[in-house]
């Protein structure tokens, strides 16, 4: 007991000096904006090295048959289903299978929207459409992160497959891009980690039995089908924000402090992460381990 007390007394000034130094550091960071890390790997080389270890197993499986394709079909069915007081379906405005005006649309999402004065993601856009154009009552709005809205998001995204991601970050969007960057570099959880540590600073290194993918590879394939050990019977695709939640949980943030779907935090973060993938070809549904 005595020993512990002595140890504590010895350690106390150390702890105090540590915390004071981090707060002053933080202040300096706030004034200068976020200090970005240098990307640790060449993205192309990472992809080549990864293929050397794992082959093109996942890519081949995705081409042969991705169970996410069942979810695309679910989304297609919902897209053509009449809902709300206006007696319309998504297809009433966008044409059969979205042929009229949806091809190539999803690659520019998320984007700045003047009406909500913030970042508009595809799921929010879908619910807005349902509210304004289809007359779906507020309480019947689709819940974010659930099967219906993810299926429709996936279907809409699948219409733009093979097209380069093109998220705008200039003009009014730049403010939100910077806010998203701040989230990407903001320290979280018990371990005081941020997204950039794994996906920029130490990208390409081997951790927890896998290679940490660099930031530009994170965003071109959502919603994605995941081969998950724990959820063997699960038949659903995940959205990028579900993945954010998973990552934040892995960073040891307690459940009640993980940001919810489509909050400002999540939307800004999505804008930043999607913008890192600009120029890459969209492929939804993705197929990940």
């Amino acid at each position: 007991m005595k020993k512990i007390l002595v140890l504590f007394l010895l350690a106390a000034p150390l702890i105090i000096s540590c915390t004071s130094s981090t707060t002053s550091q933080k202040k300096a960071e706030d004034e200068k904006g976020v200090k970005e890390y240098a990307m640790a790997v060449d993205v192309k080389k990472f992809e080549e090295d990864y293929a050397k270890v794992h082959g093109n197993e996942l890519k081949k499986m995705a081409e042969d048959g991705n169970p996410g394709e069942f979810i695309v079909e679910d989304g297609r069915a919902l897209f053509h289903k009449v809902d709300g007081s206006a007696g319309k379906s998504c297809a009433s405005c966008h044409g059969e299978n979205g042929a009229k005006n949806l091809k190539g649309i999803s690659v520019s999402y998320p984007k700045y929207d003047a009406n909500i004065k913030g970042v508009l993601t595809l799921p929010v856009q879908i619910n807005m459409c349902r509210d304004k154009n289809m007359g779906v009552a507020k309480e019947k709005s689709w819940k974010y992160g659930k099967a219906e809205i993810t299926a429709v998001e996936l279907f809409v995204k699948s219409l733009s497959n093979g097209m380069p991601i093109n998220v705008k970050i200039d003009g009014p969007a730049s403010k939100f891009y910077e806010a998203g960057k701040k989230n990407f570099y903001g320290k979280l959880g018990e371990w005081n980690w941020n997204c950039a540590q794994c996906h920029v600073k130490y990208a390409g290194r081997y951790s927890r039995q896998e290679y940490l993918p660099p930031a530009p590879l994170l965003a071109d394939h959502w919603p994605s089908f995941r081969l998950d050990w724990g959820k063997q019977a699960g038949m659903h695709t995940r959205t990028i924000q579900e993945r954010f939640k998973g990552c934040i949980k892995n960073m040891r943030v307690s459940d009640d402090k993980i940001p919810d779907f489509e909050t400002e935090y999540m939307r800004n973060l999505e804008l930043y992460v999607m913008a890192q993938a600009n120029g890459r070809l969209q492929q939804a549904p993705g197929f990940r381990r």
């Binding site: 270890v53 794992h54 082959g55 197993e57 996942l58 081949k60 499986m61 042969d64 951790s207 927890r208 039995q209 896998e210 993918p213 994170l218 394939h221 994605s224 995941r226 081969l227 998950d228 050990w229 063997q232 993945r243 998973g246 990552c247 892995n250 993705g286 990940r288 381990r289």
Partner: protein
């Protein structure tokens, strides 16, 4: 007091143990428990092969097996089996068997083909309990057996995409 609890706990275990043994010996195990008991025993690949093919010799060759060196996810390991043996009306590959030797029951699948398939190739995805050999056995309509095997490393990753 403590002693008493210990004793009574021990007594309880003894009593239930005896009851269990009695049930086992009587063979009156409820049906729903049976698969659990069976699942805990590892069936050896040799026994599995013997049960299917008897003492017939299994030769190597004529079977190409495409599996990853390291599986990205042990629950979904892609396996492709190809054979260059003929697929003619009277002489064709009758069955392709897939085994995962580390699974409690190594048998994964049997695919019965006919000459109407035109090509002796199948691909599927299998669950692997641990790092082990994947083995493919090809049986021809004439009764000849050929095999090939490859090791697949199975890891459990932490994050995933």
């Amino acid at each position: 007091m403590r002693e008493n609890i210990k004793l009574s706990r021990r007594g309880f275990i003894k009593a239930t143990g005896a009851a269990c043994t009695a049930v086992l010996m009587a063979g009156a195990l409820p049906g729903f428990l049976k698969p659990v008991m069976a699942a805990e025993e590892q069936i050896d690949i040799k026994d599995a092969l013997k049960k299917l093919f008897g003492d017939k010799k299994i030769e190597t060759g004529h079977v190409d097996l495409d599996v990853p060196i390291i599986a990205e996810n042990g629950a979904v390991v892609p396996v492709t089996v190809t054979s260059d043996l003929p697929m003619a009306a009277g002489d064709y590959v009758k069955n392709i068997y897939v085994f995962s030797e580390g699974n409690l029951n190594p048998f994964v699948a049997k695919v019965g083909l006919t000459s109407a398939n035109g090509k002796a190739e199948i691909a599927t995805r299998i669950k692997m309990r641990k790092t082990s050999n994947v083995r493919a056995v090809v049986e021809t309509s004439k009764g000849n057996l050929y095999q090939n095997m490859k090791e697949v490393k199975v890891t459990v990753g932490g994050c995933g995409g």
